[in-house]
């Protein structure tokens, strides 16, 4: 290790703090991660312990940094879309959606209603997917093993539906600039309908399974407390904020993609603890199921892509018969489409909180700057406040309740 590196390491606050005087209790520095199973990714936390009590916690991130923002600048707008899937790999459709909404705001193109509703339905399915993975792994961390298998049973159904729509289970890139990638396949109503009719009873099943277990209550109630003022000051959003009683949800406050036409409640609980966040997410699953049902029943007819030939790839059939379509296809694929100069910030509600993209265009076919305001990054900043003066055994429950994805944190 070279000299400057050593200097930098010593600046990590947790390592620096040493107890003063002989009366101070002995402190131990514990390195948690980066390969700790309960951090669900590569997160390192330097804990300063006094007995079993955490006196300070310093998260160390960046192990999964892949330079996605830099790579976006080197690709055309359409190609950069595929990178957004990889940011938050559990809620990839939310990332696709916010990217497309931002670019469409710059392009000022109208999206047909059917495409908007398809986007809502698919995004809500991916929200269910994300919450199911969270519930299963979170309960597994705390010691409730069987719930994991139940959650992944339903998740498998969702992934099958995603595969049916887009040909991919996880990195779907289904939402494209100007609409969605494909017309839904034959029989999609039956597949989604079958899943969504059975789903609310499954949520009740999870709730029964966990709430009837006294250990679950003891491990989650009153654990991981953080005040609402601290959360607002630290930029925390999503289910954590709603678990403290503030009904802040971009789907309701700043509706996008025709969310204003859907009937749903913003789930809130008070308690600011792990249990409140668990209840908020369970309620959100029920609300998502309601939205999907409405989308299924009221799905409008019409085109699934915008009428913008300079942006949207033409139909295969037209390409073989019309010269203009072939020219547009060639232009879009080889050099991309030009986006008017300007800057736009668009945010949506991902399963983890507010996800916002800030795109600066200089009028060329490649984005000049793509900034991703990711919820995991902002939420993780609250970790030192949340873990301070709590027991080390509770840190696993607190960490799990934040529901961060390290790909989302490090980008």
């Amino acid at each position: 290790m070279n000299k400057s590196l050593e200097d930098n390491y010593s600046t990590i606050a947790a390592v620096q703090e040493q107890p003063a005087g002989p009366a101070a209790p002995r402190r131990m520095t514990l390195n948690m991660g980066p390969q700790h199973p309960s951090t669900h990714g590569v997160l390192r936390i330097v804990l300063e312990l006094e007995g079993e009590t955490i006196r300070s916690a310093a998260p160390d991130i960046g192990f999964l940094h892949t330079g996605i923002e830099k790579q976006c600048e080197a690709l055309t707008y359409a190609k950069a879309l595929t990178l957004t899937d990889r940011v938050d790999y559990l809620a990839n459709l939310s990332n696709n959606l916010v990217y497309c909404l931002t670019v469409e705001k710059l392009l000022q193109i109208e999206i047909p209603e059917r495409a908007q509703w398809l986007r809502v339905m698919m995004t809500e399915l991916s929200r269910l997917n994300s919450h199911l993975v969270w519930l299963g792994t979170h309960a597994l961390d705390i010691g409730a093993m069987s719930i994991f298998f139940y959650c992944f049973r339903e998740r498998e159904d969702i992934l099958r539906i995603l595969e049916m729509f887009s040909g991919q289970r996880m990195m779907t890139s289904y939402i494209r600039i100007g609409g969605v990638a494909l017309e839904p396949p034959r029989g999609w109503e039956k597949a989604v309908g079958k899943f969504i009719r059975g789903f609310p009873s499954k949520v009740d099943e999870y709730e029964n399974l966990l709430d009837s277990n006294p250990i679950w209550g003891i491990r989650t109630k009153g654990v991981g407390y953080i005040s609402l003022e601290d959360m607002l000051d630290l930029g925390v959003t999503g289910p954590m904020l709603r678990g403290a009683g503030l009904a802040l949800d971009c789907r309701r406050t700043q509706p996008y993609s025709s969310y204003e036409k859907f009937n749903f409640d913003v789930a809130t609980r008070t308690g600011n603890d792990v249990y409140a966040r668990y209840q908020v997410r369970l309620q959100e699953m029920r609300e998502s199921a309601k939205i999907i049902t409405q989308a299924l029943e009221g799905m409008p007819t019409g085109p699934y892509q915008a009428d913008a030939p300079h942006v949207v790839l033409p139909d295969r059939e037209k390409m073989k018969t019309q010269m203009e379509a072939l020219i547009y296809h060639f232009k879009i694929v080889t050099e991309g489409f030009r986006v008017p100069a300007g800057e736009v910030y668009q945010c949506i509600e991902s399963p983890r909180g507010e996800i916002g993209y800030y795109i600066v265009s200089d009028g060329t076919a490649k984005p000049y700057r793509v900034y991703m305001r990711t919820p995991s990054f902002a939420n993780l900043m609250a970790l030192p406040v949340m873990l301070k003066d709590t027991l080390i055994a509770d840190s696993i429950a607190s960490l799990g309740s934040m529901d961060f994805v390290l790909g989302d944190t490090d980008r």
Binding site: Y9, T11, I61, L246, E343
Partner: protein, 145 residues
């Protein structure tokens, strides 16, 4: 919304942007938080306009929960020894965001409690999101690029 630190106000795509004097950024942020009820710092980033000067723009996105409104503040920062005051004293949320901008753009935030790299390794050379930084990094070179 008027404060002596706001130099110019623009409206585009339904979004409001205030160009702010970099020397007064802390006072302007304090004003927006206390007087205008923008209690959340939603995000903080920078844009590199290399080779033109002033080279950097530091961009702040504020959110008011009560008024359900968003606003963008921008400060222009010169490319030689880019420095600006930290707004950590206004929002603690600025902590990691400012470290990220320091890491990826090399803009130093004065009075920040812990101004070290956050995403890149601590001994990394250069600042990847600068426009004069190659996409593949300095270490590797590809004959066809």
């Amino acid at each position: 919304m008027s404060h002596p630190g706001i130099l110019e106000t623009k409206e585009a795509f339904g979004e409001t942007t205030h160009i702010v004097d970099p020397a007064q950024i802390v006072a302007v942020c304090r004003y927006f938080k206390d007087e205008e009820k923008f209690i959340r710092l939603s995000g903080l980033t920078a844009v590199d306009w290399h080779p033109s000067e002033p080279r950097f723009e530091v961009v702040y996105h504020l959110h008011s929960v009560d008024r359900n409104a968003r606003v963008r503040l921008k400060c222009k920062v010169h490319g030689e020894q880019p420095e600006i005051d930290s707004i950590y004293s206004v929002w603690r949320a600025a902590d990691w965001h400012e470290r990220e901008v320091f890491d990826l753009f090399g803009i130093t935030f004065r009075n920040h409690p812990n101004m070290v790299r956050i995403l890149m390794p601590l001994d990394w050379d250069g600042h990847p999101l600068r426009k004069d930084y190659p996409v593949h990094g300095y270490k590797y070179s590809y004959p066809n690029e």
